[in-house]
């Protein structure tokens, strides 16, 4: 399955909806979320998103996987708002975070990266006047999505190497080799893109 929010093939209504529409809905939801005040509004938004997961044929397990990384940030944020602004605000803020995260994951779970890239390239076409290359922006999106599993893999390698040498978990001993490996990977990727004629 896909713990990383990567495309899961399917034929549901959500899968078949145009990529551009899905992106617009996502952006609109992000803007609209600023205006949410009452807990029931947040709850309603959450219900809508969960229903969409149902329509897309994605199991509850997938939903849990998407929000799990948010757990600690959510707890800290909730704690802060509980003290500073009361429980209602806490529920709305954390609810909105979860809704937006789930919505973004739903887009990548149900949309081929190629379709996302095509939509972004089309949307960026007017930016050509500003000398922005739409294909470049699209490539950036594709590489961003592709790099999630790659960096997760690099992180696992670094952790294994540390364990093999019996080192205890130290944030710096983890971060430095991970950053170095990521940069090396970026170099190799750049070379591969040049070889595939991307800079021509």
């Amino acid at each position: 399955m896909s713990p990383l929010g990567l495309y899961v093939p399917g034929t549901s209504l959500v899968h078949r909806a145009p990529a551009g529409l899905k992106l617009v809905v996502m952006i609109a939801a992000g803007v609209a979320s600023v205006f949410l005040r009452a807990p029931w509004q947040g709850a309603a938004a959450l219900v809508v998103v969960l229903l969409s997961y149902g329509v897309a044929g994605l199991p509850p397990r997938t939903v849990v996987r998407q929000v799990r990384p948010l757990l600690w940030v959510g707890l800290v944020t909730a704690g802060f708002h509980l003290v500073a602004n009361g429980w209602e605000r806490a529920v709305v803020v954390v609810g909105v975070l979860a809704v937006l995260l789930l919505l973004a994951a739903l887009v990548t779970l149900t949309t081929r990266t190629t379709d996302l890239v095509d939509a972004v390239v089309t949307a960026c076409r007017p930016l050509r006047v500003l000398r922005v290359d739409p294909e470049r922006v699209g490539l950036m999106i594709a590489l961003g999505i592709r790099c999630v599993p790659v960096v997760v893999g690099l992180a696992e390698d670094v952790r294994d190497a540390q364990r093999a040498r019996g080192l205890t978990a130290s944030p710096r001993a983890f971060a430095v080799p991970l950053i170095v490996r990521s940069l090396r990977h970026a170099d190799a990727l750049g070379e591969a893109l040049a070889a595939r004629g991307l800079d021509d």
Partner: protein, 226 residues
Amino acid sequence: MPVIEARGVGHAYGDRTVLRDLDVTLIEQRIGVVGANGSGKSTFARMVNGLVLPTQGRVSVDGLDTRSQGRDVRRRVGFCFTDPDAQIVMPTVAEDVAFGLRKRGLTKAEAAERVATALSTYGLAGHADHPAHLLSGGQKQLLALASVLVTEPDVLVMDEPTTLLDLRNATMISRVVAGLPQQVLLVTHHLDLLDGFDRVLVFDDGRLVCDDEPTIAVAFYRKSMA
């Protein structure tokens, strides 16, 4: 076969000279390149498609200069790297193969057909929608190869494509390569991959020290490394 030509080629990274006085014309279909780490063989391989431009001399493919006509050279010369993960650009298998066909003026249907053919040729048809990161090392290298070959290059340069693979996968890659109609320039440490090749170049300390048929060149290389 295309003609790969190096004339008076030398290369240095800052003060460190990695290649010197290289004059060679390659017209064979299967060309092997061997040498110790740091001998200059990878630099030479990267020169063939203009990824590295020589600091001295010139490299050309069928008369196209890699410096002034790099774009045309890269259209004709495909490149396969050691680490397949670094070559895979898109998250899923079929999309990665299709990526190379962007901006080539193909219709969606034409592109899809070429992608499907490439996937079935390289035994990846069952993985079209799978995330690339879940493939095995050998399958990833096959994907990288398929993504390059789908653009139908005339020349394929491979820089140690089997170094990270186990024996089974290395054998599979070498079988695929053996069946290609393209001119292949293969840099490798797996000397048995060079059986049946037409010509093998041996590099040592930035110089071409032996240029012969595989049995003679590989024997020379083994002796010099002993």
